[in-house]
């Protein structure tokens, strides 16, 4: 799986195109490959409560609609998939 800047914990979103890397202190493009310090950000897609159903959509905890790219840093129910 690609490790893109937009999926990194240290990626501070500026807009839909780009963000600020708080490790390298520079502006980076969202869809470009991340660096060697890449740290996966909490997102629904890597949460164990998320089940994908169709492209860009899924279900959270078996009931609520969710989407894989939703940031989950503020979600109290987030748990890493496979951990």
């Amino acid at each position: 799986m690609q490790k893109l800047h937009i999926d990194c914990e240290e990626y501070l979103v500026i807009d839909v195109f780009k963000g600020f890397c708080s490790t390298k202190k520079m502006i980076v493009l969202a869809d470009e490959e991340g660096c060697e310090d890449f740290k996966q950000a909490k997102k629904c897609r890597i949460c164990k409560h998320f089940t994908p159903t169709e492209e860009y959509l899924g279900v959270c905890m078996g009931k609520a609609t969710a989407y894989p790219d939703l940031l989950a840093r503020t979600c109290n129910d987030f748990e890493w998939k496979g951990k």
Partner: protein, 897 residues
């Protein structure tokens, strides 16, 4: 000015577009240029590189929680949904910021609110979109053109989808946007409102009115709140925990007693405020996280300070100016996140925050330089605001602006000048850090000291269009006339301020103790204004009079045929009034229903907790919890073109009999022989192209153009204008709002003169089809004011401005005319000249029109160029071409003496 002086500048229509002799051969730049602090410059540079971005985080969590609570009491359900959304917003703090937090984690972020309106998000082929089209709701979208530059995401590219040519959405969020929107189908304010507004007997006529874009847009589900002045009093005095404690105490008093809605309201406030508290705390934690990994010492210390400030104000009242400013900003954001809002004005912020600022300055913990940095950061925060609504609303009406008006001056509770040293710094920061938001207004009164007025002139001269100059006495008179029936006394009338771009709004004074003294804090005390009847295109109504109720653009019968032969001018005028009344009536009834549905489904919780006297009464704004509730209005657009057209018809058809009405109609249908504006891609009379048989209508066109025009101190046309104003301002009172209060007149154009001109045929004043109307309401039509500024003032003030919520006058002045201290004095005298005549509002573009033409050709070289459109300033590159053309064409005053 003589004809020979300007010979080279006269276009083929005989219009000048300039007044006075041109002294400068070279393009003249703005005289005053100052730089922001390095900190603000860095933030502004980043802003210039930032695109408007939409995210689904807030609507996702709002919707999820809402649907979990099926059957719950609506206001509790609403508060829980808001709580979930605020609590889950991802925190974002950008390096260098002193003031933090935004609507979303994007720097320039916003999001859709499908609970208000969802049909826009559907695909064009989608059934809901077609239904909306049938209802006429999207017609205005089709005639709106967006700016091509700046932060607008005008085209889809890569993984980014352009929505409405303005906002960028990441492709991976589109399915959840569509899914969420579909969940609100038949549940949104738009859909439920639509269901019930159809029960109004004249509903079919309303649909037809919307399809022909006689009215620009609906009210209840588009921008249901705003054009008002916020009130920061409760958070500043009590803090978040204090508000929660207050509500708990109130619950103990009201639980089980009659008027049980109070119980639910107080409980809802607690729920919503707890969501805001979590939102702040999440940012405090994020700042702490950034601080721990930060190596740069200064940045590390700043993250630490931000974290500490946020942690404190997440529960307690502010201790310092910095904390008070930050907390005010957070509650401003919270209200903007609650509803789709434009024009939520901070009001007299310098007077509100003065006690904290004075204390910090006196005890040496704050400096002037630090104050300037904080104020510049505040300007950037307001500038970063975006409002997500349909293209017709955001583009055609708002031009992407959000209208947060910060007011300076006016009088205090005791009738003395209310200005202070902090307001001087606010003006200075608007000079050093020139950005569109917050726009500034000076509440002009003869009692204001000379230094604040001269500082205001200095600011005006930077050419960004602010401050607007607004007449305190005229506004107070309007406020007293409008609100004394709700118990307002003069002392409180003085607390008024501007909501949105130019909506005079009721205020109040609230007591707060600081530094051992009692201060009277000004703030908003009325509900949203500019709700009700939105923007009736007056020339379009006249067009339908001439063509027996049929819209010639679409061929549809809009109004019932009047079957009147229009044999006299009086018959024309009476028929116009009849059609206009029908329009106001049906729009008022339908929009009352929409607003009723809005208050039932999405009651305002956060704005209500702020606005006196909702917390005291236990009622939200929708239940008339605000102290003042006479706030619905009738907005019109194109008034000057209406007056000039009536003048032309009266003179040419009925008095001089230069041509018949039939001949005029024929000329109008053939656009006086010119090609349509859309064909030539030019939207003013400055540059239009003739068709092949232009000669056939040339003499009629010339007579129309030569008919007496508003703005020249000509009694013939000014009398028509005075009669119109007198009738219009009175007739509005015949219609009642949802709250059983009379409507009043509102006369601003925002950007509607572009799209509404686009759907209107040529007019009897010589204006051509598809070109914009005159901007604002007191501005002369470009190129037709030939007798100088004071003649324009005399025309504009031939009626009593306090009969209306506002009036609006834009002037464009060449920088050389106000150069130096002598020029500044002349400009102040000009302003005084208008204010002393009773004019309500005047504002200026100090710019060389040739620079604007160059900016149109080379937008990449003018990213930071700003202009005054109507009641707001916007980046040139983010404006649509019709509005750009209109601003270029505005008469440029080379002399103002």
């Amino acid at each position: 000015m003589s004809t020979t002086q300007m010979k080279e500048d006269v276009n083929e229509l005989g219009l000048f577009f300039q007044y006075g002799k041109r002294f400068q051969k070279e393009v003249t730049g703005r005289e005053i240029e100052k730089d922001p602090s390095p900190r603000a410059k860095k933030i502004r540079d980043l802003y210039f590189e930032t695109s408007s971005s939409v995210s689904m985080e807030f609507p996702y969590w709002y919707t999820r929680r809402w649907f979990e609570l099926e059957g719950e009491i609506p206001i509790i359900r609403r508060a829980e949904a808001l709580n979930a959304a605020f609590s889950h917003l991802t925190p974002a703090i950008f390096p260098g910021e002193l003031l933090v937090m935004g609507k979303t984690h994007h720097l320039r972020g916003s999001y859709p609110m499908p609970w208000l309106s969802e049909s826009y998000f559907m695909n064009k082929e989608d059934e809901m979109y077609n239904e909306a089209l049938e209802a006429g709701k999207l017609s205005s979208d089709m005639v709106t053109k967006w700016g091509i530059g700046g932060g607008n995401v005008t085209e889809s590219m890569g993984n980014i989808i352009s929505i409405a040519g303005k906002f960028g959405l990441r492709r991976e969020e589109l399915p959840i946007l569509i899914r969420t929107a579909k969940m609100w189908k038949n549940r949104s304010v738009e859909d439920i409102g639509h269901k019930y507004e159809q029960m109004v007997p004249e509903y079919k006529e309303k649909e037809a009115i919307m399809r022909s874009v006689i009215c620009m847009f609906d009210s209840g589900y588009t921008l249901p709140q705003g054009r008002e002045v916020i009130n920061y009093y409760y958070p500043l005095k009590y803090g978040i925990e204090g508000i929660i404690e207050y509500c708990k105490k109130k619950i103990n008093e009201v639980a089980g007693y009659p008027d049980m809605n109070r119980l639910y309201f107080y409980h809802a406030v607690i729920i919503a405020v707890k969501g805001i508290k979590t939102w702040i705390s999440n940012h405090a934690e994020e700042s702490k996280r950034l601080m721990e990994k930060e190596k740069d010492h200064q940045q590390k210390m700043e993250y630490a300070e931000i974290s500490e400030i946020l942690e404190w104000i997440s529960s307690k009242p502010p201790r310092t100016f910095h904390e008070a400013l930050q907390l005010s900003w957070i509650f401003h954001l919270a209200v903007l996140n609650e509803d789709c809002i434009s024009g939520m004005s901070p009001g007299r912020l310098g007077q509100i925050l003065y006690p904290w600022w004075k204390r910090d300055m006196d005890n040496g913990t704050l400096t002037r330089e630090r104050t300037m940095e904080l104020l510049e950061c505040m300007r950037m925060k307001f500038t970063e605001l975006d409002c997500f609504a349909s293209m017709g609303v955001v583009g055609g009406v708002l031009s992407g602006n959000t209208f947060n008006n910060l007011c300076i001056g006016g009088l205090n509770k005791d009738g003395q000048s209310a200005t202070n040293e902090l307001e001087m710094l606010i003006l200075e920061s608007a000079i050093t850090c020139a950005t569109p938001q917050p726009t500034l207004s000076i509440l002009y009164d003869e009692k204001l000291p000379e230094d604040i007025l001269m500082k205001g002139v200095e600011c005006t001269k930077i050419g960004t269009g602010y401050p607007a100059w607004v007449n305190n006495q005229t506004a107070t008179e309007f406020i007293m006339n409008n609100y004394q029936s709700e118990g307002m006394k003069l002392e409180e009338g003085r607390a008024w301020s501007i909501g949105g771009c130019l909506e005079t709004s009721a205020g109040t004074w609230m007591p707060i103790e600081l530094n051992g003294n009692q201060h009277w804090m000004p703030g908003g005390a009325g509900a949203a204004t500019s709700v009700g009847v939105h923007f009736i295109g007056l020339p379009k109504v006249l067009e339908l009079v001439l063509f027996d109720g049929i819209d010639q653009r679409t061929g549809e019968q809009i109004f019932p045929p009047h079957n009147c032969r229009l044999e006299t001018y009086e018959e024309v005028l009476d028929t116009f009034k009849k059609y206009f009344r029908e329009t106001v009536k049906v729009l008022c009834l339908c929009n009352n229903i929409q607003h009723d549905v809005w208050r039932k489904i999405t009651p305002p919780v956060i704005n209500s907790l702020l606005k006196p006297d909702c917390l005291v009464k236990g009622k939200d704004i929708g239940q008339m919890g605000s102290r003042y509730n006479t706030t619905f209005n009738v907005e019109v657009c194109g008034g000057v073109n209406l007056i000039n057209s009536l003048s032309s018809i009266k003179k040419n058809v009925y008095e001089k009999k230069n041509f018949t009405l039939g001949e005029l109609k024929d000329a109008i249908l053939h656009n006086f022989g010119y090609r349509h504006a859309d064909e030539v891609k030019s939207y003013s009379l400055m540059e239009q192209k003739k068709g092949q048989d232009v000669k056939k209508w040339a003499s009629i066109h010339k007579l129309c153009l030569n008919a007496p025009k508003y703005g020249n101190d000509i009694p013939y046309v000014d009398k028509i204008f005075e009669n119109w104003e007198s009738w219009f301002c009175t007739m509005c009172h015949d219609y009642k709002s949802l709250y059983d209060k009379p409507l009043y007149a509102c006369q601003i154009s925002v950007s509607t003169h572009g799209p509404m001109g686009a759907v209107t045929l040529a007019t009897a004043d010589g204006r051509l089809a598809g070109t914009t109307f005159a901007d604002a309401s007191m501005s002369a039509y470009p190129g037709t004011d030939k007798n100088g500024p004071y003649a324009l003032f005399n025309s504009a003030t031939c009626w009593n401005h306090s009969d209306s919520q506002n009036s609006q006058l834009n002037m464009k002045i060449h920088p050389s005319a106000v150069k130096g201290r002598e020029g500044a004095r002349k400009l102040l005298e000009l302003i005084r000249g208008y204010m002393r005549r009773g004019g309500f509002h005047v504002q200026f573009n100090i710019v060389d029109s040739r620079m604007l033409r160059d900016a149109q050709d080379n937008p990449d070289e003018y990213r930071g160029l700003m202009v005054r459109v109507a009641g707001f300033t916007q980046y040139w590159v983010e404006l649509g071409k019709p509005i750009q053309d209109e601003i270029i064409a505005r008469t440029e005053y080379e002399e103002i003496g």
